[in-house]
Symmetry: C2
């Protein structure tokens, strides 16, 4: 994954929003409270909140994952996505040093 692709992943309002939502899943996705948030939030919840089609949101989550900003866990029929805080730390450092 090249540097420019990291920034491309962040060059979309919806994707930025998803990352912000995942920062505080308890608040952003209360519907999932029963299942907990240990592995993140499932695609359906994110899709509903984003107001885009299922295919688009699935696509966006792949983009974010390829860039390292989220990780996914398959549990039964659901795929849960959660933030990978290391990626943000890393990017923050990179901007200071390499950029």
């Amino acid at each position: 994954m090249e540097q420019v692709d990291i920034f491309k992943a962040l060059s979309n309002k919806t994707r930025l929003q998803i990352l912000e939502w995942l920062k505080d899943p308890e608040t952003s996705f209360p519907e999932q409270k029963a299942n907990g948030y240990a592995n993140g939030v499932c695609v359906g919840q994110i899709q509903a909140k984003a107001g885009l089609t299922q295919s688009t949101v699935s696509d966006y989550l792949s983009v974010l994952q390829r860039a390292g900003f989220v990780t996914s866990t398959r549990m039964g029929q659901w795929t849960y996505y959660k933030r990978n805080e290391e990626a943000f730390e890393h990017l923050s450092t990179l901007i200071k040093s390499a950029l």
Copy 2:
């Protein structure tokens, strides 16, 4: 300037490269040594190094300027661009806090 536009400005290989070049103008633009680097580097030098047309490079520099990553100074027929380090600091902080 919205957050997403900051990242769009960084979503291009040439623009990223220009920012890196401007980090160390003495090394990247030795041709300009006679004139000094106090105000940055003029468009022509950047264009020659980028290997793109004058209009494209001028455009790219505008994009970087609108996003705050560079500032420009007009001196005679030349426009000099240099990095605005504050913008990078700011972005680095933003990624840790807001993103």
